[in-house]
């Protein structure tokens, strides 16, 4: 008897619709585009700053337009989603063993969220918010 295995094609463009977990994964990956876009916005800010006070103030004015505010809100929401989803898998990616036990995942998660809060406070302090 000869063998004739049947090979099923992998749906390269639609596979992520197959299961909800794949959609969550794609969500985590796609949201990085908005983080990249916001980074470009920061690069633009530095460029305008280097061109002098007038250019920088015009840039700040442009940031206050409705479209710009909408973009920043969307970027913030997606950045938060991206951050939460990545932070939540850190106990899996870097388990810490202490003797005959693993450190609870909640401690690793807590350290990440704690570090995030501290860094955010430092940035806000440097920005003169406090």
């Amino acid at each position: 008897m000869s063998r004739k295995p049947y090979v099923r094609e992998f749906a390269n463009t639609t596979w992520f619709f197959r299961q909800a977990r794949y959609m969550r994964y794609i969500g985590r990956e796609v949201t990085c585009i908005f983080i990249g876009a916001y980074t470009l916005l920061l690069v633009c800010a530095v460029m305008r700053l280097s061109e002098g006070q007038a250019a920088y103030e015009a840039f700040l004015e442009a940031l206050r337009s409705p479209a710009s505010i909408l973009f920043q809100l969307v970027a913030l929401a997606f950045a938060l989603y991206h951050t939460f989803t990545w932070f939540n898998v850190t106990p899996q990616a870097m388990p810490i063993q202490r003797g005959e036990e693993f450190l609870p995942g909640s401690i690793i998660l807590g350290a990440h969220y704690g570090g995030w809060v501290v860094l955010s406070l430092v940035v806000l302090f440097l920005a003169g918010v406090f």
Partner: protein, 247 residues
Amino acid sequence: MSERQIQLEVLRYNPETDSEPHFQTYSVPCLNEWVVLDALNYVKDNLDPTVAYRWSCHMAVCGSCGMMVNGEPKLACKAFIREYSDNIRVEPLVHFPIERDLVTVADDFMEKLTRIKPFIIPKEQRPVSAGEYKQSPAELLTYKQYTLCINCMLCYAACPEYGSQPEFIGPAAITLAHRYNQDSRDGGRDQRQEVIATHEGVWICSFVGACSEVCPKHVDPASALQQVKVASTVDWYKEHLMPWGKK
């Protein structure tokens, strides 16, 4: 014991007569305690003896009865009928060629498993008279979880990276490599790194995490793969930034 009638849709493929697979539906009277494997056995014993599928232990130890149950990679012996509606669809594990009906061709996985040398490679040859290799509970803990893999290949069916890039060594094989690398009695890490610290090794993985979600033994392959990435990155920095240091 309560009984209910389910419609079991089975993907059929006969390599001698079929050009492509098709579904065949069987009406199966199931007891509430049954698993999908029991329903398949009922079909085989009472309705259609030609249905082909793999199984052996019926208790989630042998890893033979992996299949797609309503699109989800499952062990048929661990998928309880009571958790499903009256229509259950079973297909062979995706990402593997179909040999016949629910039986897949596992050659690719077996070849990859062999490549990662899934056995202890002693650091140095010792005579038996030197005694046993001692290992502390803490040393055992570093890899114990990864010894629970039963090679059922559900993680390969769950992994879209393996589906799109079949050269990927894949979750179970890399996890097993990590299991031996972590073992204090082993000295074969350099040999295994040549296979797993490569693009077709761990770097194809983008941490979808589906492998860990479907693993019936809670091995958490995604965790092992991320640890291999971290260790391989540390290797790279040591080699390029501290060439005088020992790897």
